[in-house]
Symmetry: C2
Subunit: 157 residues, 2 copies
């Protein structure tokens, strides 16, 4: 393409990793019991929302790199805060590694994510981050309803 | 820069406009009274959150283009759902127009947004969209708590 670069591949990764740091801080703010039991309006618990994020990020990137279109599985069966944070941390280097394996030239190639969502890879990746922001924000409301101050939205460090 | 384009300037704009469409649908779902009165955990009403978004998007872009670093003003004084939607719609062509005036080559230039947030322009723009996703998601929880089904997260059309 002849257009200039408005956002580099590395900048997008750092942007996502900053959001993952903030999501981790949000998990940490929850008391263990409420993390796995509290919800508003019949929505999922924050632990369930986080398990959705985990079932999308690393498996989604792996699928893009390996060109395998396997369905996602949101049921990770994690039942403690410690295990949820461990899984979060274990996935970080894998996310970086898979992401770095996607050639820049492929970002505009279509990929049928999870055998279901056929979009350009850049669009799939934006979805991963958007979806994380979306569900984390729901966690912010849960925290407020529980009388707990959430992290600052800009605190990605 | 020598790196390839992972996301064009136009793709980013379309991505944002899709999110704005979804935020508009979210506003529409609220009954007028709850839009301006309902909150959870001492948070702002959804109307107040939307006024924050309005006070960032068009004024922020205008500041970037005109290189004026004026502070933001979240108090728009809008008191009806109709006026809020009208303002939302009136800002859309302005957002497109200002955005298109930012040269691609400037996306990595630093800009002191609202005289307060000194980051590269690409980073300021990502923040606009992230912040919209974040606050809209809080509106989704308000809707669920009110027994109203929010729009689909992927419905950006």
């Amino acid at each position: 393409m002849s257009t200039s670069v408005i956002l580099t591949k590395e900048e997008f990764l750092q942007h996502w990793l900053g959001h993952r740091t903030l999501t981790r801080k949000t998990i940490e703010k929850f008391p263990e019991q409420e993390l796995f039991s509290y919800n508003i309006g019949g929505m999922r618990t924050f632990a369930d929302l986080v398990m959705e994020l985990l079932s999308i990020a690393e498996p989604g990137l792996r699928g893009i790199v390996q060109k395998r279109e396997e369905p996602y599985n949101h049921s990770l069966g994690i039942t403690t805060k410690e295990a949820l944070l461990e899984k979060w941390d274990a996935d970080t280097p894998l996310i970086i590694d898979w992401y770095n394996q996607i050639p820049e030239a492929d970002f505009h190639e279509e990929y049928n994510l999870f055998g279901e969502y056929k979009f350009p890879i850049y669009s799939n990746l934006l979805y991963f981050v958007d979806n994380e922001i979306h569900h984390r924000a729901q966690g912010f409301v849960y925290l407020r309803a529980l009388g707990i101050e959430p992290p600052f939205f800009w605190d990605r460090y």
